[in-house]
Amino acid sequence: MSAFLRDYLIVILFALLACGVVGGFIGLGAIFRPNRPTAGKVQNYESGVDPVGDGWSQSQIRYYIFALLFVMFDVEAVFIFPWATQLETFGYFGLVEMVIFIFILALGLVYAWRKGVLRWV
């Protein structure tokens, strides 16, 4: 087996281990726990919202704005993680660059705020 494939062996072992641990605990629970199903208990759980109606139901448009804003700052975080590991290499140059980057993104937040997007109507 080549060294390249051996690296992936670890991934496979981890995957098997994860399946084993989760399956094992849930299986143990199934043996020991009492089983008294009610209508409320067997419903699907989705973020605390009752699963009523069919799958194509409409959701509030205002969630959409928050999702967009979330993506903006999520991407910011993705940029900051690799930067943080290399901060010492880049020193002040890196620091200033990141401050500029976050500042420009913050201006986007200012724009969203002034546009009234952050108000829950």
Binding site: E88, F90, G91, Y92, F93, L107, V110, Y111, R114, K115
Partner: protein, 520 residues
Amino acid sequence: MIEQLLQVQTDSPEVAWSLIAPLVTLALGGILLITISSLIPSLKDNWFPAAFTAGTAAAAMVFVVDIWDRVSSTGPEFVVANSMSVDQYTVFVTGVICISVFLVSLLFHGYLQREGFSGPEWYVLILMSASGGVLLASAEDLIVTFIGLEILSIAVYVLASLHLRRGESQEAGFKYFLLGALSSALFLYGIALTYGATGSTRLTGISQSGLNERGLSPAVDSSMILVAMALLMVGFAFKVSAVPFHLWTPDVYEGSPSPVVAFMASAVKVAGFAGMLRVFFVGFGPYVEDWRPLLQGLAIASLVVGSLLAIAQSNVKRMLAYSSITHAGFILIGIYAAADPESRSNGGVLGAEAFLFYLLAYTIMVAGTFGVITLIGRRDDGRHSLDDYRGLFKSNPVLAVLMSALLFAQAGIPFTSGFLAKFRVIAAAAQSEAYVLAGVAMLASVVAAVLYLRIVVSMFLVDSPAEADEPDALPSGLSAFPLAGVTAVAIAVVATIALGVLPFGQEILTDAAEAMSAMR
């Protein structure tokens, strides 16, 4: 932590801010505009955003003139860790993009008031898109090229769908976005294959990896490079809407807000051509024999399809969409002649001059033409059939004359910049012995003239049918139209005729063309 930071030797890359000032001005202008008008909302609805955008474009133009003088004496400069190159070619293209932003911002002002939209977003997106175009024109690395392409495009996808009341506008934005994403994916695939074949994304690195003392290096996987070049060409051909990658153009031009189309047809295309030329001249210079036939095919297809399909249309915006495809064919001939490996001194420089002159002339006349369309569109921007232009000369003689001047320029009638542009392109093609291309170009310009004449005839000769008792009738007299928009159209007409009559600027063209020929 702070102590540690102080001790570190910072090896920040060389940026040379003064040389990328136009790019920074455009991007910073957009950021400033959106910040100022968020903090002071009362500024949103008056002349401020338009004036600010036009002022930003003018400021960038001032930097362009200054940098032109600098690079004329020093030669090409490589900036931002060699990822961008500033030479006379880049500076010329930047200037053309700034002209487009200036004219379009003037058109926006009256348009937004008529349509009842407010807000700085339209202007901000134009500025952002223009900064991406400048980046695309000067990128020396395929990754930077891609970033420029995306900054340029994403803003325009949004602009295309920004007319919120019109379903067609949403449709146009969606179509443009989906097809644009596909072409971006193909472009990225091309970058990946290029990197796989040559081990570099830097344009100079790509061209050097292909060469050794006996010509093309056998170390480079040439089949992979052929596929890579084809994919990159598809990405650019989509942006400049060359046939067979033009199918989005009529729908998107018809649906998008008219002043946005003025920007799409001018600055976006110019940036696309500029990026295409730099990537292929600098990066794939050694493979010129391989990619030059692609240009020939694209050019012939664009000329034939663009000029023939335009005749079948009855919507003026669709007609001009096909006309812009024909123009793309002419510009591709300019690149084809400029890439002539035999006559780097004769046909090459002639072709480069023709290409650059065509970009300038085309930008001005197409921005002006869509400016008139913007003015005539009525509220909701939906009145663009040929019938809506009937009898325009009777109700608005000045506007009709301005429009005819611009259409004659697009058709290539003498004493306009359009004639000189087409003449230069065809002469350059003949000089590099591409007689078939030159012949097709001449035929296409004759066929395309029919289309422009159809619009002119309907403006002048046909009496408008009971236009007067229509509630939505076009106002008569120029004063009914927004001043800024009329000014933009007037500037475009004056520049179009001046470029066609007065032979100024030849030395600028020659300098930029020589910088362009020196790239490969």
